[in-house]
Symmetry: C2
Subunit: 593 residues, 2 copies
């Protein structure tokens, strides 16, 4: 049976020791009521519910999958009841505006509960997540009347939400969508078209489903500047908030996928469906990106959640499974063999996964703190600086955590040998499920091009420069602690590589339009590795004074040193690839491929 315990000790270390989020809550008027005690109680409850209710449904949900019958989708056994409990527990509105029934918790809290949720049941996680994302786009772009009508129901889990972007011929390239909207003169629009890959497009968990749909008006400009966003409920909503007639939106089929089989991925047909504009005409992409950016951090967290549960199971297996003998001779002399843990190569895999997990957790908290500042800081300039930081790091957290999370799950599976390949132990499901996170909400290649193109080249590297200065300040603050040299020296070196890579990218981009795309994924990994080194330096600085008090802190320093020594050197390879430029790869004829 798979095991999972929410890593609460580590979460608290990151939140309260490394970043001292309690101090930032107290310094923020809007967050005065958030306290460490309250948040610890929330995390304990979140862990309990996740471990006891949602985790057991993960494997059965994978085996059963979703079923479609008569234009209705049935989620696997247990999902309906669990969703009810989840909604009644107030979890969907945990981070939402209290004006609409939310609990107003900052991102520095919800990143932790999200990690737990994604670890125990990623298919389940997507149902509430899409609703929260839709609600966020509505709250920032729709009228007060729409907000009042829809948001409380979504936060209560009475209704769910979706984002309808992709069409059969249009995925990354939304400029060419064919779905059409026609104004009806009464403030509503008629929406017609087909959307595919719609997560939670149809299911049996809620009374209503609120679709956010990208479509084009008849006179819209070509390309991405002619896209508007519409709210299209499955059931129309009467003025008193009760449900009215069925709207013209139907599920066409559900996809058979590699993983997340308990998440209904639907083809949705809109046939003169009634919808309402969200945001301004032709500015739908901007409104949708509010939602997309929210989801992108969550997808990074999905990568982390998966590798955390994979780690815990691999570690348990390595402790229990007896196979072979220590290189120093038998350790467990009374047993037929030693536990796997005596083997260096098994430790290499486990430590690589764990070094990723702990850096990733620290990174999500770092981004969460910037998100809270961007939202709550009193000072407008501080808000802008934080928003710029979030803009820079969102593609990194999404793509790096999912690329590394996938690799980590594969490594954890490998610890099991043949037992990792059969369904029984659950490891192969973690690999199949997490794979989607590298693809959806913008593939990791698209994330990387967002980073190099929009977040670096477009502002000539100023966001990166500000980040580099912050890390330099950290290095300066650590320079009188020689015992931390094993952290500061490799971090300084990685930071140089990042600057060299940034310079190379900026120079290439001046004369070669392909440079940004050619460098993108390698630049993103160079960036992510440097961020991890930064996170490990922060954790080491925090742990250092306590290293002799408690094995917890000494082990942190040890694992950080492992990362610096064995994993960080990859920056050189990534820099070499960034420097290589685009010319060679663009030189092949199309017929060659």
């Amino acid at each position: 049976m798979p095991v999972y315990k929410a890593p609460l000790r580590d979460m608290k270390f990151v939140a309260f020791e490394v970043f001292d989020v309690e101090a930032s809550w107290q310094a923020t008027p809007a967050l005065q009521e958030v306290s460490r005690d309250l948040v610890e109680a929330i995390l304990d409850e979140s862990a309990k519910f996740a471990e006891q209710v949602l985790f057991p449904l993960n494997r059965s949900g994978d085996e059963e999958g979703c079923r479609m019958e008569n234009a209705a989708v049935q989620t696997p056994q247990g999902f309906r009841q669990a969703f009810r409990q989840y909604a009644e527990g107030g979890w969907i509105g945990l981070g939402a505006d209290p004006a609409y029934g939310g609990q107003g918790m900052p991102k520095t809290v919800t990143v932790l509960s999200d990690e737990i949720l994604f670890a125990v049941n990623p298919s389940f996680a997507l149902y509430p997540l899409l609703g929260i994302g839709a609600a966020l786009a509505i709250s920032q772009h729709a009228s007060a009347a729409i907000c009042q009508r829809y948001l409380p129901k979504i936060y209560a889990g009475t209704w769910a939400g979706t984002m309808c972007l992709t069409e059969p011929h249009a995925g990354t390239d939304l400029g060419i969508i064919k779905t059409r909207a026609q104004a009806q003169g009464d403030g509503s629009y008629q929406i017609t078209g087909t959307k595919i890959f719609i997560t939670g497009g149809e299911h049996d968990l809620t009374e209503n489903i609120i679709h956010l749909v990208l479509a084009k008006l008849p006179d819209a400009p070509a390309g991405s500047k002619g896209i508007s966003l519409f709210l299209v409920p499955k059931f129309l909503v009467n003025d008193d908030g009760s449900l009215g007639a069925r709207n013209g939106v139907q599920v066409g089929s559900i996809e058979h996928k590699m993983g997340i089989k308990a998440s209904a991925t639907c083809v949705m047909n809109f046939d003169d469906a009634r919808g309402w504009l969200v945001g301004e005409v032709n500015e739908g992409l901007a409104a949708m990106f509010v939602m997309m950016n929210y989801e992108r951090l969550s997808m990074g967290i999905q990568g982390l959640g998966a590798s955390e549960v994979a780690y815990q199971n691999a570690a348990a297996y390595a402790r229990d499974r007896l196979q072979g003998r220590s290189a120093h001779g038998a350790k467990a002399k009374d047993l037929a063999a030693d536990p796997l843990l005596v083997h260096a190569d098994i430790r290499r895999m486990l430590l690589s996964v764990r070094a990723h997990n702990e850096a990733a957790r620290c990174f999500t908290m770092y981004v969460a703190q910037a998100l809270d500042q961007a939202k709550y800081a009193e000072d407008a300039e501080q808000r802008q600086l934080a928003a710029d930081r979030v803009a820079l790091l969102t593609p990194v957290v999404k793509a790096f955590l999912t690329d590394r999370g996938f690799t980590a799950c594969v490594d954890a599976q490998q610890v099991f040998g043949g037992h990792g390949y059969i369904r029984e132990w659950g490891m192969e499901q973690y690999v199949r499920d997490v794979r989607i996170a590298q693809i959806y909400e913008g593939t990791n290649g698209v994330q990387a091009q967002d980073l190099t193109g929009r977040k670096v080249v477009r502002n000539r590297g100023i966001f990166v420069q500000r980040y580099v200065e912050e890390v330099r300040a950290l290095l300066a603050s650590m320079k009188n602690e020689p015992e931390l040299d094993v952290f500061t020296r490799p971090l300084a070196r990685a930071l140089e590589r990042l600057q060299e890579g940034t310079d190379a990218l900026l120079q290439q981009a001046v004369h070669d339009p392909d440079a940004s795309g050619a460098a993108a994924v390698d630049y993103l990994h160079l960036f992510g590795l440097t961020v991890y080194a930064h996170m490990w330096a922060l954790m080491a600085k925090t742990a250092q004074p306590h290293r002799s008090e408690n094995a917890f802190y000494a082990d942190k320093l040890r694992l950080g040193a492992y990362f610096m020594e064995r994993m960080l050197p990859e920056v050189d390879q990534r820099l070499a690839a960034v420097r290589a430029g685009a010319a060679l790869m663009m030189d092949f004829s199309e017929a060659y491929f």
Copy 2:
């Protein structure tokens, strides 16, 4: 619909141009009758059968899987007939001894037909492959009477074979198996025990199944020195070769796996089954390793076959799918969008996969040539040198080609975006299917420890040194071709890294028994990358004189340059990890994990 065309042009380039295998056949008395014309005809037929018959069964086989009813296993629809055709075509005996009905083709031929087979249908491939492996162990270790009785039937595909090693508690560590053998006084033994993960343990493809089973005699020494190998047929064989009574071996259940679902992976129960000794008492592991080593090259080829078919599909998709515009502005102005191929990041993925595939193909041919020399060379010393080379490279070809093949399949899947995650396009199956190749026949971690422990440290690096000298001679032969500097310089640099890594490993191993395990996987990848650079240099040397004749040769040089510039720099990271040693990772307490 997935596409596949056997890469015959590339195969011929590697075989006849890079390695000139025809000259080596002609110089070998036993292979005088093998000619280029004959082999090209064989490859054409192999390609035709694979593309037309086996490839269409790949997806349906995955969806249908194997079924077990009343202690019998049913393979998916079409498999029986395809196996009949395959057997009747003489494919199972292609590389087998003509004395037993084989066609006597050298390994330099069968590596190519094996690649095609694994590309089109890895589940199917395992059925004949296990038979061939079993036959090989029998032919080298069993009595002439046993050989005469069993081999012709296996090569004809009338009977199949298995290897029964793993038990519930014993995978890598075969020293602790519990299956018992008891001599019956008539030359036969009674075998009792349970084996798991038995590929093709039971199925409906053949009249009989010949199990090779590891078991212990009552007085056997403990550990791996007390293991004997037994031949246990499903049906006993009468003196005239006809089938007799059912033997005491039964399938207990079949596994539900991540992939290769059309391959029956069985739990096998041996209950006083009659068996016959193969090889000497207590020397079963050595006899089994004949089979294992044969399979290990094949598993590497499985990695290559998978990434080749994945590449072809990703390239086709990238040519056809219209999405976004070239960074230089619209290319296909009359269409709504440009093909994916205009994007540098798409090319990066495709070229990385292809650079791996072509180097891997060259590498399998290089190992095949050494295998042929080890078997057929007139001179005993030459045979020994070739056998040493094979011993050194077998773990590399198995683990490196499957690790890289897996990554390549994931990259190819990524080209499809969301369409890569759904079953419809077939890409997710390639990823699921190829994953097993990193695990079975000795996990890649075990391969790596075989490399560092037995193949490097045990002989103090002499095998590596001989390999390095060969590459140095190649570099010397290229030194007057300045236009090949883009190959020779990075190869020379990688070779230095390999030597530094070898020296570091040998030094560490003197005082630290864990060093070999700690360095293993990174050392293996350092080795594999260097071999790829070596292969690319060989291909470049071959292509260079023809570069202006034909785009085929110019493109070879271009792809090789891409490998050298963007992929080879990973050697530095691998060397850093090798140098890091074991101390840090062994320093964590067991309770930490």
